[in-house]
Every structure is written in structure tokens, then in C-alpha cells.
Amino acid sequence: MTSWVPTPCRVVERTVETHDCVTLTLRPVTGSLPAFRPGQFAMLYAHGVGEIPISVSGIPADGTLVHTVRAVGAVSRALHDAAPGTVIGVRGPFGTAWRLDGVEDLLVVAGGIGLAPLRPVLGHPSRRTVLVAGARTPEDLLYAGDLLALSDVDVVLTVDRGGHDWHGRVGFVTEPLASIPLDPERTTALLCGPEPMMRFCARTLLGRGVPAGNIQVSLERSMQCGIGLCGHCQLGPLLVCRDGPVTGYPEAEPLLLAKEL
């Protein structure tokens, strides 16, 4: 049962990203946690409130963990509000990671908070990376300043609704996908966002000749344990906490197409 017991970690830094998102840097109060890989997640426990799955949004080399949390309900709100010094419980790493071995051109497509689990794959100097990120409004764009500063990444930002001082794109992330230059055979696409978004994006990419096997998605289901015991995260044959969240599109597509699966 020790697998249920979190490691106490202290919030050492809290960065406000948007009106409802913060990035927390956590350091184990004592000892260390096993290394996380991009795409994996932790179960973060807010004392007395609850525990939820949150991806790693950064993997510093100093043994800290970085997570970006969007406040949507009680637990995520409590984590969002955790001031530096607060102790948070961490279990993990859990789940599958983005498969990056042998990747030539990397296309990263993120919707909203979906950018968080993808941030750790950005900025790898040895490969060409294109990032297409969407958000509801310019104010909801995560890490916007940092992203534009990344030298090795072509960044395309788009929002559902712009404002006076927004000069970028307005529309869904699928639109730039239809037109950005890419070499389909060489491209590996990583998608994370709402299910319909991932489906539409994958369709667009398939239409452009990207092989289905080159597309990876990050799935989301209710998770209460992270260790294949609670059963909530089932999506057809998958236990998403164990067999996901990162899944090849050929495997995921039929599951995403089934109603209420």
C-alpha cells in the first residue's frame, strides 16, 4: 500500500502563467524522486482536498519537478493556490512518455493546458521543431514569452478570440496545420489537447500524408490512483494511467471515435 503514499515535496517557486494557470517548482522535502520523462505525469496531492494527475511541464536537472496547473475545480484550485513553502504530496512518475527516439522533424500541437506536458520536448537543438499552440484568448496562452524566445522552434500561436492588441492568428489549431510546410515522411507529430481537437488535427495531418504511426496523442481519463488499481481511467483496452497517456494514433483513433467509451 506504500504505493499510495506520496512523497512530501515543497513548493519552491510559483510562477503565475495566466489568470488561472501557475507553474509550480517542487522539491522533495527529503531524498529524491525517480526521474520523469516528458509526457509522464505525477499524482499531486493537496492536503485534505484531494489528488489529481498533473503532467510534468519541465524537467530541470537539479532534482526539482515542474508542473503547470490550471485551476478548474477543488483540487486543481488548491494546487494553484499553493504558496511557496507549502507541502504537496507527489507520486510518480506514472504513464508512458512521448516517444522521441529517432525523431527527425518534430511537430508539436497543443491546445490550452495541453501545452504543459509538451513543453519538455521543446527546444531540443538537434531537431527541427514546429510548435502550433492554441488557446481561447491571448491571455490564456501559456508560456507565450518563453516560447517566442526559443531559438530552435518555429512557433505558431493562434487564439479562438483575439483582442485589440493581438496581431497573431485567430482560429483553430487545425488551420495552420493545413498550411505549414512539412515533410510528411520525416515528421513526428505530438498532440495534446481536448479530444476533438486531437482528432481534427490528426485527420488534417493524415490528409497531408503524415503516417498514422508517426502521430502520438496524450489521452485523458479520470484517474484516482495512477497505478492501475482504481479502474477509472479505462478507455477500451487501455488503462490510461499505465498504457497511456501517450498513445500512438493508430491505437487511439478507434477509441476516440467511439461514443462515450
Binding site: G48, V49, V75, A78
Partner: protein
């Protein structure tokens, strides 16, 4: 200290009493919160705003319809408790009848009695944050809501059948093993399966769970010997006004 106010609308007081029935927790709770209004317990009544308002009872008079709007404005969190507050309660039987006739049965001079023609749940008048089902509510669930709100977590109030609790308790299903009609399969959990524990079929005092499949239960109830009349009555008692189908 967070302030709590307890309000009564048309009801039997049983749900409020549930708070006083938390004998072991009552005084510790009183140390942690400030009771700003609770007429059954104290004459001291303070003006709003209140952090948590707990509302018992249904709306059956024009004055009550006014008062609930005021309470909503004054309360950060509105928790409505019991079948009266969540579905209109047993007094909602008037919704299916001629209220003038009801008045004349009870009162010699019915013209003095100012009551609305319907008994309606609080949610028909204002937005509510949490609903506690039951006639009466369950003590454990009441404490759960209060402690959850104090801790800032979401209260754990499973929206599922009485059967799930019945089974967790290890009770033997009275419907399957004795042919006793039971509303457990369509009734909202929360009581801890009290009736099956005393060899009785559930009579639905917690009201329907979300998406109850009552049409599938009806033939089973008939098979266990319920007449059409009884079937009508059993869904029209303590949560008569709720959506059973």
C-alpha cells in the same frame, strides 16, 4: 471564523435536528465556526453576509420565495438539505391536487390560509451549491459537507444507487432473495441502505439518482406484487415532485 447560518422553510425540522444529532461533533464544530443564525438553537441572530447557509425546507408561501432570494444574496455557499429543500418534500403532494380543497379539509375558514399552490425545491428559486438528499438527511453526509467546505474540498456525495451502498454493507438483496419490492436501484445513495438493513425495501426517501431507469424497475416491482395503485403512491411520497423518470 467562518459563519454558518441555518434557515428553515416549510419542513418538519428533522434535517436541522440532524445537525444537533451530531452529538460528538457539535461542540468541536461550534469551536470552529460562528453560528450566525439558527433559530432552533439560539435567539441570537446576526445580519449577513454568511460564509455557509444551510437551508431546510421547501418554498410554499410568497414570503418564503422572497426570503430565499435574500438568503442567497447573503451567502457565499448555499447548501440545501433534505427532500423538502431538494425536491419539495412530502408537502409537494399538493402539486398534484387542488390546494383549495386541501385547505378546506384542514381549516374551517380556509380563506385565511395563504399558501402557494405548489411546494417547490430551493433550486427552483435560486442557484444552490450543494444538495443533500434524504428525508431526513444523513448525519454523516451533513458532516461531510461541512468539513469539506471548511477544508476547501469538494464534498463526497456519490450520485449513485442505494444498491451500491447495500452491497458495500454486505446486505442480502431483499428484492432478489425475498421478492420484496425495493426502490434502491433508482434511488440516490446516501442513507447507507437503511431499509434493506431492516429487511424492508427502499421507499425512495433520498429521491431519484441521476438518470434513474424507473421504467425498467416498474415491471420488477409489479412482479414482486405491487399493484398499480401502490406503484403510483410509492413514487409519489417524500420526493413526489422529483424526476423519477
Amino acid at each position: 471564523m467562518p459563519t454558518i447560518a441555518v434557515w428553515k422553510f416549510t419542513s418538519c425540522d428533522g434535517c436541522q435536528l440532524t445537525l444537533l444529532d451530531c452529538e460528538d461533533e457539535l461542540l468541536p464544530l461550534a469551536d470552529q465556526v460562528h453560528i450566525a443564525h439558527f433559530l432552533e438553537v439560539t435567539g441570537a441572530s446576526e445580519p449577513g453576509p454568511y460564509d455557509i447557509s444551510i437551508v431546510e425546507g421547501s418554498v410554499t408561501t410568497p414570503e418564503e420565495a422572497e426570503r430565499i432570494r435574500w438568503i442567497r444574496e447573503q451567502s457565499a455557499m448555499l447548501v440545501v438539505v433534505g427532500a423538502c429543500a431538494t425536491s419539495g418534500g412530502v408537502q409537494a403532494l399538493r402539486n398534484f391536487a387542488d390546494v383549495d380543497e386541501f385547505r378546506s379539509i384542514v381549516y374551517a375558514s380556509p380563506e385565511h390560509i395563504s399558501a402557494l399552490d405548489t411546494s417547490t425545491p430551493i433550486s427552483a428559486h435560486v442557484a444552490v451549491d450543494h444538495e443533500l438528499r434524504g428525508c431526513p438527511i444523513d448525519r454523516g453526509q451533513l458532516l461531510e459537507v461541512i468539513t469539506a467546505l471548511l477544508a476547501g474540498r469538494a464534498p463526497d456525495l456519490p450520485d449513485t444507487s442505494v444498491c451500491t451502498d447495500c452491497k458495500r454493507r454486505g446486505l442480502t438483496c431483499v428484492m432478489v432473495s425475498r421478492g420484496t419490492p425495493c426502490l434502491g436501484p433508482v434511488t440516490h445513495a446516501g442513507c447507507g441502505a437503511l431499509c434493506p438493513a431492516v429487511d424492508r425495501g427502499c421507499y425512495g426517501c433520498f429521491g431519484p439518482m441521476t438518470r434513474p431507469n424507473a421504467p425498467a424497475l416498474v415491471p420488477l416491482l409489479k412482479r414482486t406484487g405491487m399493484s398499480d395503485d401502490e406503484l403510483e403512491l410509492v413514487f409519489r411520497t417524500f420526493n413526489a415532485n422529483a424526476e423519477w423518470t
